[in-house]
Amino acid sequence: MQWEPVIGLELHVQLATSSKIFSGASTAFGAAPNEQACAVDLGLPGVLPVLNENAVKMAVKFGLAIGAQINLHSIFDRKNYFYPDLPKGYQISQFETPIVGAGSITLEQEDGNNLRIGITRAHLEEDAGKSIHDLFPNQTGIDLNRTGTPLLEIVSEPDLRSAKQAADYFRQMHNLVRYLKICDGNLAQGSMRCDANVSVRPSGSTTLGERTEIKNINSFRFVERAIRFEIDRHIDILEGGGTVERETRQYDPDRDETRVMRGKEMSEDYRYFPDPDLLPLQISQTFVDAVAAELPELPEARRHRYEEALGLTAYDARWLSNDPDVAEFFEAVLNICNNAKQSANWIMGALSGYLNKADLGIDQSPVSPEQVGTLIARLDDGTLSSKTAKTLFDHLCSQGGEVDEAIEVLGLKQLNDTGELSGIIDQILADNPDQVAQLKAGKEKVLGFFVGQVMKQTQGKANPKQVNELIREKI
């Protein structure tokens, strides 16, 4: 039988506010244990939450970016359960009335068949603290610094049909929230975590199979692998005549498998109800309009602009616009050299190659957009040849420095002085009489030989075009 996987993702996005969603403690990552957990975060007796305006703005920004309905009236609820890193014994979240209603994104597919993925909703909630299990003998240590960090939980419709699509969706959302500057996107620090709901059904069926939920996956690769494992597991069970149990599982990357965390019989009764410490959130259309006015150019619009206004190929335009850091780098380079094609070539070629090898993100690039842009400008004005430009680029990567200075120091300037070049050519022509004869007889290929010799003599600094012209003159 053919099986069709049905996948929906819940993404937990830590919003990039300075202070917590309900308190004035800092959200910065990496503080010493409990140094960013104030009385409100600790849930001490008598303390009360007050909502952070910026968290609301960021949620609205996201909603606008996915064309979602913005609910001007929304409610904060308590989700009740006991866990040591949940200080109050409940999490403040939004249950029935989230701030962001239904929207969608277009999932870019490499084969060009783009998919519309529905977003059911996105709601604001507070993050929990961290339990550290391996620091103390027989004890778990609780660090509540993360408690109260604002989260936007983005819930997709079960519109994804493969592990690859799910990972692509995660990646695209990762790009989007960074475009919007509502999340730093640092997956290693847990700034974005993913829960995946997975089920399979016979191809062609319209009813859903029983699903399982894989909790807390925080890399693109693991999302894909965890879901792939889970799909195979479901299919194996179903083909063996068994039934899939509704349960919550976790992914173990070391063994590349999912394991059960808690079964259906353990499912909590969260007893959601409106948090009486918070009043209904009412935002005005003016508030929404002000956020809309701050929306940056989004990837799709940017891609169109790169194709239409800058004349880039569809492939290059997508390559450069997907990731906001890449797009920003590209635009900064372009701003200096005003040569879109070359900017694209250098970023997608030499720079990308170097960064890949060094396992660096473009935001960690040792060469700045200013350096790349100036390099291209020197190429365009004939100061550099493509060969010396590459030498210079390698030098900038390893040594740094200012472009024009490096050109001087390394002596990379093209030889545009016809006198010096003319002497070198005369010498080479004199040394190779056979080839001169061949060229005179009309063997054009030999011209390449001479140019090569000249370039060798000049260590690539000669301008090939000029060399060509001089040889022709002389013969």
Binding site: Q36, P276, L279
Partner: protein
Amino acid sequence: MSNKSSINVPHLARLARLSLSAEEISAATEDLQQIVDMIDQMQSVDTNGIEPMAHPLDSTQRLRQDIVTEQVNPDNFQKHAPATEDHFYLVPRVVE
């Protein structure tokens, strides 16, 4: 509205993380039954078309500016904490 069997005190106690002895469970079941009988008086009130009222104030949530105002010294909060080490709160090892 409810019948005696619907009040599952052990289940409620588990949700609320209370451990009750057999006697406490039977006393609590009796008390709760009485209380539930009392609160069932509500069911006679016609509430068709009435909006639930979560709050006495006809008001909406005020928003706080996104400014860090709290500088935390964990010692201040952990002076009276039952079990801490290196500024972590300690609980018996949780098996994940």
